[in-house]
């Protein structure tokens, strides 16, 4: 159990550091979503199921959608025709 916890915590820190060093902004958002997923698993391990459900719905779902929409409206996403 401790090994899983340590693995997840190390994953959190790696995600937080890696989000600062990406060149494009789309990988940052994907790293943020991965961070939220690991955090919700950690909350299950800490016996806080309310937090796990809320984090999975809010932190991973809604936050990611907001970031993606903001990125699209700023025309920074790969695949849109104008990349500034």
């Amino acid at each position: 159990m401790t090994a899983i916890e340590m693995l997840l915590l190390a994953g959190l820190i790696v995600c937080a550091i890696a989000a600062n060093f990406t060149r494009k902004l789309l990988p940052t958002i994907i790293i943020y979503a991965a961070f939220g997923t690991m955090l919700s698993v950690i909350w299950l391990l800490l016996r806080a199921p309310d937090l796990a459900i809320t984090e999975a719905a809010v932190g991973v779902g809604i936050d990611t959608i907001l970031f993606l929409l903001a990125l699209r409206s700023m025309h920074h996403m790969d695949g849109t025709e104008d990349e500034e």
């Binding site: 915590l9 959190l12 940052t28 958002i29 955090l39 806080a48 199921p49």
Partner: protein, 131 residues
């Protein structure tokens, strides 16, 4: 305390240690990144670090989650984890989403006006348009 004691204690307080490191990484990202978008993301990391710290403070080994579903386990403090940190953090998560949306809205308006996400360029263009 000796170094060995400190390291052993940190291994036991692994959630606190990880949350502290996360907080520092988020703070450094927020202060030293020149990209407004990444500043908002770093603020999210800092939020999560605080939540992790609060939640891990209430955890006690061997107790159940604070939901009394099984009537055979009496509602005693020795059987259930304190529900207070979870209640505090639950409201915090939703407030952090409000903050994220607000910060992104401000960033979007700035981008539409100055066509940049770099704070240096935004400041420079704002100064130029003032003159």
């Amino acid at each position: 305390m000796h170094l060995v004691d400190i390291l052993q204690h940190l291994m036991e307080n692994r959630f606190d240690a990880a949350s502290v490191i996360l907080f520092v990484v988020g703070l450094a990202g927020m202060v030293f990144n020149r990209n407004l978008f990444k500043k908002v993301v770093s603020m999210g990391f800092m939020d999560s670090a605080i939540f992790l710290f609060l939640t891990s403070a209430g955890y006690v080994e061997g107790r159940m989650a604070p939901i009394i579903a099984d009537p055979s386990v009496p509602a005693k403090m020795e059987n259930y984890i304190s529900p207070l940190p979870a209640g505090l953090v639950l409201t915090g998560i939703v407030v952090s989403v409000s903050f994220t949306a607000f910060g992104l809205a401000l960033t979007q308006r700035l981008y539409k006006k100055y066509h940049s996400l770099n704070i240096d360029e935004i400041m420079m263009r704002a100064r130029r348009s003032e003159d």
